[in-house]
């Protein structure tokens, strides 16, 4: 979570109202909310799976064994094998690393860039603010998936390009959120005080604005994480995501779907994995909002 206090020594008067005790309140509420607990447990489970992938399976997710193509789930291959004999359990497990890694990095970059742009647009306003917001309008006017598809088609399908495409699509929501929060914070006493001290805009944005708009941004980030993972998978499904043979859930489903009628297990398990990870983030995000949002927490 964020640092609860922003340089109290230099500006003792400048203490944001919302922040004190957030962490404690958060924990006490978290314990009382069973649904969010469940989401948290699932999430931690997947993080563990991602970290411990090599321990959980001795199989190489990319080992081609043509003679073992399309095997049923068995003690040896828990989720069966694919059309070139790769172990699907290993591919789903290693896919967790990729999906979580991509999802988290997308959201962190988008959240960071979006917050900075939003804070700048909100605090400075004027021409710069106008320009930033108009660019965001343009991006928002694109149907998200189409923009991501077109971007990753234009840049060539690869891991980095898929991440970049989704980051671009995700930024405007954060900008809007950060800007509207900034507009509120901007009028607060501590900001006015900082301005009268003659502190630079950069300093004020970094030390005062951003720490005070970060809570709703973090809630939004958790909620968007699930969506980002879904988008990664959708791009993968449409053949615009990572390059083969990288084990990516959407890509596995895309290929596996053709085999569903005879080998039901092939697309089923990665689908369940996507669902569980996404729902855990959405539950956590939903819960976080209830807990941290002062309005709904009343």
């Amino acid at each position: 979570m964020q640092t609860p206090q922003t340089s109290p020594a230099s500006h003792p008067a400048v203490v944001p109202e919302r922040v004190p005790g957030t962490v404690q309140i958060f924990w006490s509420r978290f314990r009382k909310n069973p649904l969010t607990m469940v989401g948290g447990v699932i999430f931690i489970l997947f993080v563990l799976i991602a970290l411990l992938a090599p321990v959980l399976t001795g199989n190489d997710p990319n080992q081609v064994r043509m003679d073992l193509a399309l095997q049923k789930p068995s003690a040896e291959h828990w989720f069966g094998t694919d059309e070139v004999g790769r172990d699907l359990f290993a591919r789903v497990i290693y896919g967790t690393r990729l999906s979580l890694g991509m999802g988290i990095s997308i959201i962190i970059v988008a959240g960071l860039v979006g917050t900075i742009l939003g804070a700048v647009a909100g605090y400075l306003g004027g021409k710069i603010g106008q320009i930033i917001m108009r660019i965001m309008d343009v991006i928002l006017a694109f149907p998200t998936l189409i923009l991501a598809m077109a971007l990753s088609a234009a840049m060539g399908p690869s891991l980095m390009n898929a991440i970049l495409a989704i980051v671009i699509v995700k930024i405007p929501a954060f900008v809007r959120l950060a800007r509207s929060e900034t507009l509120v914070v901007k009028e607060k006493l501590f900001v006015k005080a900082a301005q009268t001290f003659g502190l630079s805009d950069t300093w004020i944005i970094v030390r005062h604005i951003i720490p005070n708009v970060i809570t709703p941004v973090i809630i939004q980030m958790t909620l968007d994480l699930g969506d980002a993972i879904l988008m990664v998978a959708t791009l993968g499904f449409l053949g615009l995501g990572v390059q083969p043979p990288t084990p990516e859930w959407g890509a596995i489903i895309s290929t596996g779907w053709r085999y569903f009628l005879d080998q039901w297990w092939y697309p089923t398990f990665p689908g369940i994995a996507i669902f569980l990870v996404t729902i855990s983030f959405n539950i956590i995000g939903d819960g976080l909002r209830d807990m941290l949002d002062p309005r709904s927490a009343r």
Binding site: F142, A233, I253, F275, T278, I283, S296
Partner: protein, 334 residues
């Protein structure tokens, strides 16, 4: 009010300019030449160059762009490379199918979303709350491409209750076009066979799409409802013995609806995004499928036409939301 409309129209110009610039630049960056797709794999260099020339691909980029924008002013979105038809005509053909899909999905999502939102707020922290929330969150957590295909296998393959894809059975004639929505046109024509058939075809894609958007609406309604239910006037009214259901509907819901309207307006982009995948899975002959096919064959006039149309729609819907806000909340009008 006029200021709002003026601002939105200004935004429209900015957005169209931005969107067309981005797509145009993208079409130039993309490796993969539309002329190659047309001449086929075995063509000679000479033919290929001639077709490039014909298609105006050898003109400088800014000239191509100016030509395009000039056409745009007269409602000409260029000619699709893939279908060889004017893009605007293609889009007009595909539009009603998407509209029908999105419209019903929206209606169902709103009705169900309001219901679950109210239920979970009124029964806050009960079992109903948890069930309702898990249900609505599931929708946004399921990959559409996966749940859609699973639904086809289950309801078409195994149970045989619903048709797998398309808008109508092959041997049933489409009703005469009035609105382009088969359900409405068939009713107007009194063709009950086409009506019931088109409803059957709508059930699966509409449910899948509505399910995805349920969560955002439920979440918003629930939060606002919780908020409103805590207000003093509601508490007082309750204490005075006014029936809860009357209160909920008359006051709480009405106030909770407004933020929900915003969510609905803003999510139109993602709704169309969801429609793209849904249409692909269910072979639904709408704009989403059209644009996916167009991206596949790098048909940039078609992609641009689609994005510009959506951009215009996006701005207009936002305008509509603004206006609706004013109607719902007279205070803003001043």
């Amino acid at each position: 009010m006029w200021a709002v409309i003026r601002n939105r129209l200004l935004m429209l110009i900015v957005v169209i300019f931005g969107v067309s610039c981005i797509t145009f630049l993208m079409s130039n960056v993309i490796p993969g030449d539309p002329a190659r797709m047309i001449v086929g794999v075995k063509a000679t260099e000479e033919t290929y160059q001639r077709v490039r020339e014909q298609m105006g691909l050898n003109d400088p980029l800014y000239e191509q762009y100016l030509n395009y924008m000039q056409g745009l002013l007269t409602g000409d979105l260029g000619t699709s490379l893939r279908t060889q038809q004017p893009v605007i005509e293609d889009l007009i053909t595909y539009f009603p199918a998407t509209l029908e899909l999105v419209l019903y999905a929206f209606l169902i999502a709103i009705i169900l979303g309001v219901f679950i939102g109210v239920l979970t707020a009124v029964k806050n922290n009960s079992m109903w709350d948890h069930i309702g929330r898990i249900f609505s969150i599931s929708g946004v957590s399921l990959p559409v491409f996966w749940s859609g295909l699973m639904a086809i296998i289950l309801f078409y393959g195994v149970l045989g209750w619903l048709p797998a894809s398309e808008r109508l059975d092959l041997f049933i004639d489409a009703p005469p076009t009035i609105t382009g929505l088969y359900t409405i046109d068939s009713l107007l024509a009194g063709d009950m066979e086409a009506f019931s058939n088109s409803v059957l075809h709508l059930i699966m894609p509409v449910s899948i799409l509505a399910f995805v958007h349920l969560s955002a609406i439920t979440r918003q309604i629930r939060a606002s409802m919780l908020d409103v239910l805590q207000q003093d006037y509601i508490k007082t009214a309750r204490a005075n013995g006014i029936s809860s259901s009357f209160l909920i509907i008359r006051y709480a819901l009405r106030n909770a609806l407004m933020p929900a309207v915003t969510v609905v307006g803003l999510s139109i982009g993602s709704l169309l995004g969801g429609a793209v995948v849904t249409e692909t899975i269910f072979n639904w002959p709408g704009m989403g499928k059209y644009v996916v096919d167009s991206i596949g064959s790098l048909d940039f006039p078609a992609i641009m036409g689609f994005t510009i149309l959506i951009a215009i729609g996006y701005v207009l819907i936002n305008l509509l939301v603004d206006l609706l806000y004013m109607v719902l909340d007279p205070q803003i009008r001043e």
